[in-house]
């Protein structure tokens, strides 16, 4: 039974990653599955992220070990990296814990079968353990590599490395299960779940960027106060000390840490098995409000479609956070420039060639932040099982596509334009640059909106069971992100090459004008494609 359940869980996990039916061929008739090329691209991207993160953690580990090994407290480096690994594991799996354990769509089905609840829990917890293991390996493997390069390899370190890799995920898993449990209880009582999720997530993102920005300082602080931190950890957080010691090959440390983690995990698992049935079968949702009739107002078909897009957007934290994070940065940047831009301009003007570079940098910044918004890229796929509705209503495909573009322009185009206007009014630049930058904000947003939509029309995916699949893992989303980033990088590289070889007095402004014209032409071509070919594709999607 356990084997069957595990197979189902893992099949589901891989199906969501590779956009395939979890049980063989399945899926709707005539629907395309992700091709080999797309799967290869997907694997390449995962590898790329793993390498980047792995390299980052390797550098951190190097910095810590360079200071702690000579001081004889190398265990502290492991302890700190272990905490980082646990944190990464918890962040990576906490929301998955909630959706996989308590809000799984097949809870009712499985509970109705002759399967014991503990077997269901075990199969899901095991899948979560695999996820935790993968996250933690991103930190632990580079950490051990950095240590071995400095201190050499020994049987003890090898053994402890393997043990830690297998045992530490249990710690983050236990924490994820506790947090997931709390989220499940809280979300059962919440009224504005989407809004609260978005606020919590934005706070998390802000914290993350703050920590990343301050990381160098934190590491310097840790390195400078290593001895004191080591003393305090030994005195007040013995298990953390044991974790660090275990990594260096200390058997006592390993046994203590193993005992602590296993005891904690067993306790959490016990509570989970006792509460699973109650939580999994609990009726969700806040108290039901009774409908009170309000006056009716007639609107146009276009406004109805746009309203529908907005309602969908606001109802889905996943959609909001993954497709419009650029807008959050744009708003923060606009407020920052409005209040602090003057001082920044003064300090920048001291630099040589600043007058020419400032408009270019602002223009690039406006476009780069706009490129982070991919609202249209999953928008067709998100119609999912409701696509029949749009096809049955007396609206043309072009009206439907226009409503998706309008949503992008309202959520991304308007903030970008405001940001551009704030920038051109704060930073010194000529009239041409002052005109081009706000225009560029609109054109780049239109181009990215059209591009995302075109990619999604070419690569739609409707057979998903969780919105996170088209929003996070859709091929159109990945292609949109890569292409828009590629465009920005391409124009930046071309400018660098040109500026080395060509010297003109208004080089920056001329270059911005050329880029704007190229983007305008590309936008126009995409517009025609969407109107002619895109609408035909949309009509044939069902």
């Amino acid at each position: 039974m356990i084997k069957t359940l595990l197979k189902k869980q893992l099949a589901e996990l891989f199906a969501s990653m590779f956009n395939r039916s979890a049980f063989g061929k399945g899926g709707k008739k005539g629907k395309k599955k992700r091709g080999k090329g797309a799967a290869a691209l997907y694997i390449f991207l995962i590898l790329y992220v793993c390498i980047v993160l792995g390299a980052m953690f390797y550098i951190f580990a190097e910095m810590l070990f360079d200071a702690f090994i000579p001081a004889g407290i190398s265990w502290l480096g492991f302890s700190l990296m272990g905490i980082a690994a646990t944190g990464l594991g918890v962040i990576g799996t906490v929301f998955l814990t909630n959706s996989m354990l308590y809000n799984a769509k097949d809870n009712d089905l499985l509970l109705s079968m002759p399967i014991k609840p503990w077997q269901i829990i075990f199969s899901r917890v095991f899948t979560l353990y695999i996820m935790d293991l993968l996250y933690e390996a991103l930190v632990l493997v580079p950490c051990f590599a950095a240590y071995i390069i400095r201190c050499g390899i020994s049987f003890g370190v090898m053994l402890s490395g393997v043990f830690m890799l297998l045992v530490l995920p249990l710690l983050s898993l236990a924490l994820s299960l506790v947090l997931g449990f709390l989220v499940a209880i809280a979300s059962g009582r919440m009224k504005n779940k989407s809004l609260i999720t978005v606020i919590v997530s934005v706070v998390f993102i802000a914290l993350y960027f703050y920590v990343v920005a301050e990381l160098q300082n934190y590491i310097a602080l840790l390195v400078a106060n290593g001895a004191l931190i080591a003393k305090n950890i030994k005195a007040f957080a013995y298990p953390v000390y044991a974790m660090g010691m275990a990594c260096t090959g200390d058997i006592l440390g390993l046994l203590v840490f193993l005992a602590v983690v296993l005891a904690l995990f067993a306790l959490v698992y016990y509570v989970l098995t006792k509460s699973f049935l109650k939580l999994a079968t609990a009726k969700r949702g806040a108290k039901k409000a009774v409908y009170r009739e309000k006056s009716y107002r007639m609107g146009s078909a276009m406004s109805a479609l746009l309203k529908k897009e907005f309602l969908h957007f606001w109802s889905s934290p996943t959609y909001m956070l993954n497709s419009s994070v650029g807008s959050i940065f744009i708003i923060i940047a606009a407020v920052f420039v409005f209040f602090k831009g003057g001082d920044l301009a003064q300090s920048l003007l001291v630099l040589q060639g600043a007058e020419e570079l400032i408009p270019l940098i602002i223009c690039a910044l406006v476009c780069a932040m706009a490129s982070m918004n991919i609202i249209t890229a999953p928008s067709v796929s998100l119609e999912g099982r409701n696509l029949w509705l749009l096809r049955s209503l007396p609206v043309s495909a072009w009206e439907v596509l226009k409503s998706k573009i309008a949503l992008h322009m309202i959520l991304s185009g308007i903030p970008s334009f405001i940001f551009a206007v704030v920038c051109v009014s704060v930073f010194p630049m000529d009239a041409a640059a002052m005109t081009i930058i706000p225009m560029m904000a609109i054109i780049s947003n239109l181009m990215f909106a059209f591009m995302g939509l075109a990619f999604n029309l070419k690569h739609p995916s409707f057979d998903w069971t969780n919105e996170a699949v088209p929003v996070k893992q859709g091929l159109s989303v990945i292609l949109s992100m890569l292409t828009s980033t590629g465009i920005i990088i391409f124009f930046a590289i071309v400018y660098v090459i040109l500026s080395i070889n060509v010297h003109l007095p208004i080089m920056g402004t001329l270059y911005m004008l050329c880029v704007m014209l190229v983007c305008a032409v590309a936008t126009f071509v995409l517009y025609i494609w969407l109107q002619k070919r895109g609408t035909k594709i949309f009509d044939s999607l069902y």
Binding site: K288, V290, E293, R297, L305, K308, R385, N386
Partner: protein, 237 residues
């Protein structure tokens, strides 16, 4: 009201509908019966403009759905077998959305929402998100939204599935009322007793081909519809 001429639709190599022709007049309730996978849903979806087709022609009130889909859809309402509606909307927002799309005035939509929501006992739940609705509630909402623009032709795929007895009775009464007022209804069902009591005409489809159609008397004679249907199914096998 609805004329289907030699409709053919294939999925890959499989012909789901093969040269099917039907004519549904104003004032008629037309039942469409057949076993699972016979091609009923494909025909209904093609008739509503949801699905394209390979050959043949479909006219709604004399207008080709292939040439002027939007004009045709303005006169149609479709109720699917599985009411997948926008879970992120509340019931009332969904009804307003549909009313806006069909250009129903504020006064008329208010009147119709009040009437049909009360009839199907959904008024109290209109403020709830559709995601929290049961299957039956979604089905009721789909029916109300189908009636909001007073369509000339209603196409329904298994409309009674999930409805409680009272709602099913209300729907049957409504179907008769709509036809009395000059509308037409084309619906599929597996409940042959309902088809027998409710329909003016009936069509039986098998393997994508129409095997019998006509008035209820022409199709079943003195026997029951169930008997005729089972005989036809066996005969062709």
């Amino acid at each position: 009201m609805l004329k289907i001429k030699n409709l053919t639709k294939s999925y890959g190599d499989k012909k789901a509908v093969d040269g099917l022709s039907l004519h549904i007049e104003k004032g008629e309730i037309y039942g469409f019966i057949g076993h699972n996978g016979a091609g009923k849903t494909t025909t209904l979806k093609a008739a509503t403009g949801i699905l394209g087709f390979d050959a043949g022609e479909i006219f709604v009130d004399g207008v080709s759905i292939r040439e002027k889909p939007t004009e045709c859809k303005q006169k149609i309402a479709y109720i699917p077998d599985n009411p997948d509606l926008y879970d992120f909307m509340t019931g009332i927002k969904y009804l307003n959305f549909i009313a806006d799309i069909f250009g129903v005035s504020a006064g008329l939509r208010g009147e119709r929402i009040r009437k049909y929501a009360a009839m199907f006992e959904l008024t109290q739940s209109l403020g709830q998100p559709i995601g929290s609705y049961s299957h039956g509630m979604k089905q009721k909402l789909a029916i109300i939204s189908a009636l909001i623009h007073a369509p000339k032709l209603i196409i329904m795929d298994e409309p009674f599935v999930g409805l409680d007895p009272k709602a099913a009775h209300c729907l049957k009464e409504l179907m008769r009322e709509i036809c009395r007022e000059g509308g037409a209804i084309f619906f599929s069902t597996h409940v042959l007793e309902v088809a027998e009591k409710l329909c003016d005409k009936v069509a039986i489809i098998k393997g994508g081909k129409l095997i019998k159609s006509g008035t209820m008397e022409e199709v079943k004679g003195d026997a029951s519809l169930e008997k005729v249907f089972l005989e036809l199914e066996e005969y062709d096998d």
